[in-house]
């Protein structure tokens, strides 16, 4: 059963990520007083992209490898996580640090692709992406470490479900705030969608990508978004803890949907910040997250 859970994870994430993205685009459109694309539009976009010609404009192997590596990393992450409050066969053998490594691997693949592109705009996008990753991934890591500290286990299940295991506390509350504020940066939406600033640097890291390679990056981004939104629900919101596996999945998906709505609303009512301004905000978030971990260590 826990092996089936792996496939359930991967399929659900793969198939539903574009749907959530479509919901976000629809909400953004409604905030902007327009109709918006149909909710299934990202599926159409992906199919169209996958059907195009594959062009290797940079001419090197790193360019071809990068999207594959990114997709592989995020698929690995989703196959490990305890979706639906059930630790699956793989998840039982890894711990929280693996997840952090794999997510970082995804980010590094984007950097690899950008730097392999040999394009000035991609280089600027890569530098912004690097700065963002360095400043924002610690908050994620600290969320998982908080769970680990509170449940005294680095296992993935306990770390993620720390509130189930050890109840709500002040440190969890503080970490909730930090995670929520960083959520926009995790999912790369305004005000923190700096690496892919369309207006300034023409899509940044992905400028030279097209066709199936770009499609792979897009699905990677969508799955990453869905993962972070789901993680918020899994760690901080105590729903989906009933005994029934399908019911858990449904409840967590609904929670993710609500988080997406919030992301969309915040994203559509904010301008994009500059990287130097964003870095200051990230620094504050890291401090808050550290504070939360400190509180947890102190037993609060």
């Amino acid at each position: 059963m826990s092996i089936v859970a792996i496939f359930v994870n991967v399929l659900l994430f793969l198939l539903l990520a574009p749907l959530f993205e479509g919901v976000m685009r629809r909400i953004t459109a409604r905030v902007q007083s327009r109709q918006g694309p149909p909710i299934v539009q990202p599926y159409y976009d992906l199919f169209k992209l996958l059907g195009k010609e594959r062009i290797n404009s940079a001419g090197n192997w790193a360019f071809k490898l990068a999207p594959l590596a990114a997709l592989a990393s995020i698929l690995a992450v989703v196959s490990l996580v305890p979706f639906g409050s059930r630790v699956n066969a793989l998840g039982g053998r890894v711990d929280a640090i693996t997840v952090v490594y794999l997510l970082t691997l995804g980010g590094v693949s984007v950097l690899l692709g950008a730097l392999a592109s040999r394009n000035t705009f991609a280089a600027i996008g890569a530098s912004r992406e690097m700065v963002t990753m360095v400043m924002v991934e610690p908050v994620l890591a600290m969320t998982l470490i908080l769970g680990a500290v509170r449940t005294h286990s680095l296992g993935l299940g306990p770390a993620v479900f720390s509130t189930a295991g050890a109840g709500f506390s002040l440190s969890t509350g503080v970490m909730l705030v930090a995670y929520l504020l960083a959520l926009q940066a995790f999912v790369a939406k305004q005000p923190f969608d700096i690496p892919e600033a369309e207006i300034e640097i023409l899509e940044g890291p992905f400028i030279e990508y097209s066709g199936p390679d770009y499609g792979m990056f897009r699905i990677y981004m969508m799955m990453k978004q869905m993962f972070y939104a789901w993680l918020f629900v899994a760690v901080f919101i105590p729903i989906g803890r009933t005994g029934l596996y399908p019911l858990n999945i449904l409840l967590q998906l609904l929670g993710t949907l609500v988080v997406f709505v919030v992301i969309a609303l915040v994203g559509s009512t904010n301008p994009r910040l500059r990287i130097d301004q964003a870095v200051k905000i990230y620094a504050v978030l890291i401090l808050i997250a550290l504070g939360a971990v400190g509180l947890a260590v102190a037993g609060v």
């Binding site: 600027i124 305004q190 300034e200």
Partner: protein
């Protein structure tokens, strides 16, 4: 009158015999004919007397008397006077002294005539090609009368424009010719060090359409406003009205008061839609698409109103020489008034939502700084100047159409950055609404809207006309001609002077702010195109030195100016 007398005595006293003629056909205009030896000194004197440089005009008189004429126009805003300085040089030796070392803004005007008329300007700090493509053959000057308007020399391969060298330690980020934040093809080569901008070079005029040449050779007086309207994608009416005013002044055609009021109404409607458009674009450039969509949603109503009045959303086609083509009926008047009430409410909502937003403050305050002194030195116009404490508005300084009767404020702030331009433009929307209400109320109840022109317009009369476009002051210079068309028509859109100062505004800002800094001048490249050149400028540099790009695109090592 005082001002004109003062200027006349000043010039005559200093230059004596070099002043070949002085004439003042109206209390607001002074035409000075000067020998070319005294051109630079007299220009400098006019600036010292309080003038502001507007534009230079070159024209071909070879068939008539073997000379090439050059005109520099100056505005004395506080005295409500425009001074036109005319000179000429024989075609065999078309050399003039460059006035650019004293007046930086003349740089482009002079380069333009170097390209288009073959004039030479001694002492010009950067005599590079401005308008013509780099593979255009030497020796063929398009504005000269012997060159046909549709000459197309075959293109050469592999000839690109030479950009200036990047300062050491910087990389070049090519913004253009195609870039998402630019609406027309322009090339800004931005020199960045990490994310900080250290300099900029600009090459534009890629979509130069040759409108002036076309209207001097192919179309007639009344067809020119239809072409003029299409110079710009946003401020069409401004160019048509400015041209019509220039011709009417030159030929002495009086137009009815009702027509003047209708022109005023059309100009203010245009200002409304243009400022709302800018608000949206500014939001888009800082990544805030919701402001973009909402501002344009409000703007759509203005476009519908324009369509109802004129028959088209943007190319109003209202202006001909002698008046306007369509009248404002009572039904249309009621619609305008209804729209103004709605608009005021909606723009107030928009303003409250935008003004207090600290996220927008972070992206616009302190960005694109240019001091008041630099603004004066560069002769900038429009909301860019008004955001830096300069009270410049052609509607008040050189009243035209029905603006003399209107009471309104000119919003001026002195924050010297992009935020200031945003505030100025939002306030101007409310002022426009007030002007529209006054115009509707004060319009003469009936009367002709088009003056009959019984005979041909007298040729070879000069006139200059200024109109406040949403982006700043638009200047048209017309020399009436034979054959029912202007002999020379020079269009200077407000973006022409404003673009010359963009490098100075860009320096030491973050690259992410590039679009919004460029956006603060509300660039209308199609009005300007004709050109765009960006010279990186530091605040300390006074002059476009010979290696001006070098000097401008590097930080000063120890400061000091280079001449």
């Amino acid at each position: 009158m005082d001002a004109i007398a003062r200027i006349e005595t000043g010039l005559k006293g200093r230059f004596g015999a070099d002043i070949k003629g002085l004439s003042s056909p109206s209390p607001a205009r002074l035409f000075v004919d000067v020998d070319r030896r005294a051109l630079r000194a007299s220009s400098k004197m006019l600036i010292e007397l309080g003038g502001r440089y507007m534009v230079g005009i070159g024209y071909d008189e070879i068939a008539r008397n073997g000379t090439l004429g050059l005109i520099h126009t100056f505005a004395f805003d506080a005295d409500h006077v425009a001074v036109v300085l005319r000179t000429s040089a024989p075609a065999s030796d078309p050399t003039f002294d460059s006035i650019t070392p004293d007046i930086p803004n003349a740089g482009w005007s002079e380069r333009e005539y170097q390209d288009l008329l073959g004039m030479k300007f001694t002492g010009h700090p950067k005599p590079k090609r401005l308008i013509l493509a780099d593979d255009w053959p030497d020796g063929i000057y398009p504005l000269r009368k012997e060159v046909p308007y549709n000459l197309e020399p075959p293109a050469a391969e592999d000839v690109a424009y030479r950009l200036d060298e990047a300062p050491p330690g910087t990389t070049i980020v090519p913004v253009g010719p195609f870039h998402v934040s630019l609406h027309e093809p322009e090339h800004f080569a931005v020199y960045v060090d990490g994310e900080t901008i250290k300099g900029c070079d600009y090459r534009g005029f890629m979509t130069h359409r040759g409108i002036e040449k076309l209207c001097q050779t192919q179309v007639s007086y009344n067809e020119v406003p239809f072409v003029a309207e299409r110079i710009c994608g946003i401020c069409g009416s401004v160019h048509a009205v400015c041209y019509a005013q220039a011709v009417e002044t030159a030929a002495g055609i009086p137009i009815s008061r009702r027509a003047e009021y209708i022109r005023t109404i059309m100009l203010e409607i245009e200002r409304l839609h243009s400022h709302l458009l800018w608000l949206g674009i500014a939001g888009h450039l800082i990544g805030f698409d919701t402001v973009f969509m909402q501002a344009w949603r409000v703007r759509e109503k203005v476009m519908w109103l324009a369509e109802r009045i004129t028959g088209n959303r943007k190319t109003y086609g209202m202006v001909v020489i002698g008046g306007v083509r369509r009248d404002i009926t009572p039904e249309i008047r009621a619609e305008i008034e209804g729209l103004l009430a709605t608009l005021e409410k909606e723009v107030m909502v928009l303003k409250n939502a935008v003004i207090g937003d600290s996220a927008i403050h972070r992206r616009t305050k302190g960005v694109g700084f240019l001091s008041k002194e630099d603004t004066i030195r560069w002769s900038l116009v429009g909301p860019v100047a008004r955001a830096r404490g300069l009270r410049l508005d052609a509607r008040k300084d050189h009243p035209y159409a029905a603006y003399g009767d209107m009471t309104f404020d000119v919003p001026v702030v002195d924050s010297c950055d992009v935020w200031g331009t945003l505030v100025v433009r939002v306030l101007e929307i409310f002022e426009s609404i007030a002007i529209l209400r006054q115009a509707l109320a004060g319009m003469p109840a009936d009367g002709p809207i088009l003056t009959a022109i019984p005979e041909a317009l007298p040729p070879l009369r000069h006139a200059v006309s200024m109109v406040e476009a949403p982006r700043g002051e638009s200047v048209h210079y017309v020399i009436t001609g034979e054959e029912n068309r202007p002999e020379r028509w020079r269009v200077r859109a407000p973006t022409y002077p404003n673009l010359q100062a963009v490098p100075a505004m860009l320096l030491d800002n973050q690259f992410a702010d590039f679009p919004i800094i460029l956006g603060q001048i509300d660039p209308c490249f199609s009005c300007t195109d004709r050109v765009a050149v960006v010279d990186a400028g530091t605040g300390a540099k006074r002059v476009l030195g010979r290696a001006e790009l070098e000097g401008m695109s590097r930080k000063p090592e120890g400061g000091g100016s280079r001449s």
